[in-house]
């Protein structure tokens, strides 16, 4: 491929592909390739102009070298199923066309026709306004309709048209914001599950999804997403099919039921015979699922319209008051003419869009503006210890065998059972077995997962359970072999313990060391300085382990040996006290708490279900992502409030001057539009300056 250098400066090069046209895919491939080149900080390939703008912090030669090595066919594989280019292109077009249309109308359309068009267009706004009023609400649509209606009534068709134009632009921007955030999230998620458990020769083997053929058997368990369409042949599972049917209650699946890709197993396990292989609309399903969960959640409206809604009664009241005082309908109407809600509706989505874009730059994807609002207002943060405050990779420190069992054999057995669950402690056991070179055949029967407690299965006719102290000793009534109580009591406290019992007798205790992240302390104190008052830690660990961790990192409150329902119960209680709560978690057992919280944050290595339920996902290597998120949210709220005050103050001043008769309505309108434009552009800048 030939490139010509169109422009270059110290840290930016713009090259043009030497041809007239580029397809969307070609542009995408080039952009992805260049973004992966070392030293390149930002790339933008425009398929319309065939230009690639490359921002870099190395020298020109590196970029030129990379361009020389480019090969479309070779790098085509890099591309994910959806890149969002089409979406952005569509909205860009919509926006530009909206502006072009308005300009053309203004310039060429005869006045009488223009009036007809304006009247026709206004009908829609009138209808929504009246509908809102019928519901007994005085909100933005009412104000829009009043402003448009009054303008029409006064035969001021120009004002009516420009109000509708600004409202239209605001609407497009709002829709774009939403679609884009959903799209980004879905893309990161659809790239995710790339390995599945396939049943081969009566054994479960972890297989890349690309290797699965129609007719293969795959196993799906609690917390995992069903990766492919197929028929259930064995097992029983409760599946959340909200993405398919919109039904939020899980559906029971048993043999002969049909399971759909993109749906999530909430509980249970099943074997599925694959009927359709990868690549068939997985992305679309995830998008639907996210939109569905959004719909279920959007009980409160987003901040932008919320703020504007608050204003509506005052604006109407102001209009009435001015009329009563001055008995001059023109002056009264000048209050309505300088319309607050246009500026608010335009500035708010821009601020939110820009904040989300900035967050994505830090590896944070947010599902909606209202969650950033919730994070900004939050005063309580609840951490699930494992995987968030600690590294997601705990290690096996020791295996203590009881009842004359062999340590190595016990580890092998534990790994054999634990390997099926997406939990960090399970991963640790499996990893330890792998490092020690312990191969294990799958000789157990179906593995049953008891959320937050542990797992149980049957091997050679004996029941084997692995899990917490509570699960093994209280629920399953296992006992410590006689004469070994002393050894059991002497188990070191600094580790978390995983207990394994065979046929009701303790067989081994696996000591897991899960060091707290070094930055945890710093992150917590930073969060405090950003407005968090109450830091809470929840863990399934024993009281002793929890206490030592809690004091080390400086949390206000901690709860040990908690169950999932305790977590969500605590959050409910805090919310009832009027607090705003953030929950940070990573696993299946955090899901109820994540959805209960005002903002649920999932750390990216966690279970798929946690990420789907969470409002925000963070894919940073350290906890500083949380600090950045909180900073961004605070700044966003500050900006929104500043915009709000700026818009109200400035336009309020305009109204006052208009009512006093100091300035003409036309110059008031000009100043109003200029200020709207200024606030809009200002809202696009980064919140955190480098």
């Amino acid at each position: 491929m030939k490139f010509s250098i169109e422009h270059e400066s110290r840290r930016r090069i713009r090259v043009k592909v030497c041809r007239n046209k580029m397809t969307l895919v070609e542009a995408d491939v080039l952009e992805y390739y260049l973004a992966g080149v070392e030293g390149v900080s930002k790339v933008r390939v425009d398929e319309r102009t065939c230009c690639a703008t490359i921002h870099h912090n190395t020298c020109k030669a590196v970029v030129i070298d990379a361009l020389k090595k480019y090969n479309f066919e070779k790098y085509k594989e890099l591309l994910p199923e959806e890149t969002g280019r089409k979406l952005n292109r569509a909205y860009q077009e919509k926006l530009v066309m909206c502006i072009v249309k308005r300009t053309l109308f203004k310039m060429f359309l005869p006045a009488s026709l223009g009036i007809a068009v304006t009247v026709c267009k206004s009908a829609g706004y009138m209808y929504t306004g009246i509908k809102t009023l019928m519901k007994g609400k005085i909100e933005v649509p009412v104000l829009d309709a009043t402003a448009i209606g009054v303008s029409l009534f006064r035969r001021d068709f120009k004002t009516a048209a420009s109000i509708m134009f600004l409202l239209g632009v605001g609407e497009i921007l709002e829709e774009w914001t939403h679609k884009k955030s959903v799209d980004d999230l879905a893309r990161t998620m659809s790239l995710d599950v790339d390995k599945v458990w396939a049943v081969r020769d009566k054994q479960e083997v972890l297989t890349p999804i690309a290797d699965i053929k129609v007719g293969d058997y795959i196993v799906v368990r609690t917390g995992s997403m069903i990766p492919l369409d197929g028929k259930v042949v064995y097992g029983e599972a409760f599946v959340n099919q909200a993405s398919m049917t919109g039904e939020s209650l899980p559906v029971r699946k048993e043999a002969d039921s049909y399971a759909y890709a993109g749906t999530v197993v909430e509980e249970g396990a099943c074997i599925i015979q694959v009927e359709k292989t990868s690549g068939s609309g997985r992305y679309d399903r995830i998008v639907e699922m996210i939109e569905e969960s959004e719909k279920l959640k959007s009980a409160s409206e987003n901040k932008a319209s919320h703020l504007a809604d608050h204003l509506v009664p005052y604006t109407l009241l102001g209009t009435g008051l001015v009329y009563l005082l001055t008995r001059n309908i023109v002056k009264a109407l000048s209050v309505l003419m300088v319309d607050f809600s246009c500026a608010l509706k335009l500035a708010m989505p821009i601020s939110v869009l820009s904040a989300m874009r900035e967050a994505r730059g830090y590896g944070i994807s947010v599902k909606g503006g209202k969650f950033m609002e919730a994070v900004a207002e939050a005063d309580t943060i609840v951490f699930d210890k494992t995987g968030t405050l600690t590294h997601a990779t705990p290690k096996v420190a020791d295996v203590v065998a009881f009842g004359g069992n062999d340590r190595v054999e016990m580890l092998r057995l534990a790994a054999c059972l634990e390997e099926h669950y997406p939990h960090s402690i399970a991963n640790a056991v499996v990893e330890e077995a792998r490092v020690r070179g312990l191969n294990h055949e799958e000789r157990h029967s179906k593995v049953e997962y008891v959320v937050a407690h542990g797992i149980s299965s049957v091997i050679d006719g004996e029941k084997v359970i692995i899990g917490s102290h509570h699960f093994v000793f209280q629920d399953e009534k296992s006992v410590v072999p006689e004469g070994e109580e002393k050894r059991f009591d002497d188990l070191p406290d600094e580790y978390s313990h995983l207990y394994m019992a065979i046929s009701g007798r303790l067989a081994a205790v696996i000591c897991i060391s899960d060091p707290v992240r070094t930055e945890a302390n710093d992150v917590i104190s930073k969060l405090r300085s950003l407005g968090i008052e109450n830091v809470v830690m929840m863990t399934g660990d024993s009281e002793k382990t929890a206490a030592s961790v809690a004091s080390a990192i400086g949390v206000d409150e901690y709860f040990s040996e908690v169950l999932p329902e305790d977590k969500s119960g605590y959050i409910r209680k805090e919310k009832a006290l009027g607090r705003k709560v953030i929950m940070v978690g990573d696993g299946v057992n955090d899901s109820p708490a994540l959805s209960e919280a005002d903002a649920g944050i999932a750390i990216s290595d966690g279970a798929a279900i946690a990420r789907e339920i969470a409002d925000i996902t963070i894919s940073c290597d350290d906890l500083y992502g949380l600090v950045r998120l909180k900073e961004l949210s605070n700044e966003l709220m500050k900006r929104i409030n500043n915009n709000y005050r700026g818009i109200i103050g400035f336009n309020g001043g305009l109204i006052a001057l208009g009512v006093a008769g100091v300035i003409q309505p036309s110059s008031a309108a000009l100043l109003h539009n200029m200020s709207t434009l200024f606030i809009g552009t200002n809202s696009m800048t980064n919140l955190i300056k480098e």
């Binding site: 422009h7 400066s9 110290r10 840290r11 930016r12 319309r48 102009t49 230009c51 530009v96």
Partner: protein
């Protein structure tokens, strides 16, 4: 009498426009005209979007070069400083 003729004329004209005019508007040739007009609109749209992109890129060029100029100025202003012992 004249009025009646006038009215009849309008009536006839109306009938002609209503039948022949409609025929003309829905004829094959007319369809060709519509197609070309649509194509023209689409092309215009593309060219508008192309211009927008070009303007954006050129603005980027100007901005980056302006930043370079300022950086150069800044480095020029930095004087060598000698400190006595």
């Amino acid at each position: 009498m004249k009025k009646i003729w006038e009215r009849a004329g309008f009536l006839a004209g109306g009938i002609i426009i209503g039948t022949a005019g409609l025929k003309a508007l829905t004829s094959r040739d007319a369809k060709k005209v519509y197609t070309h007009a649509t194509a023209l609109t689409l092309r215009a749209k593309d060219s508008v979007m192309g211009t927008v992109s070009k303007v954006r890129e050129n603005c980027g060029d100007i901005l980056s070069e302006a930043q370079d100029i300022n950086e150069n100025l800044e480095s020029d202003e930095k004087r060598e400083i000698v400190e006595s012992e």
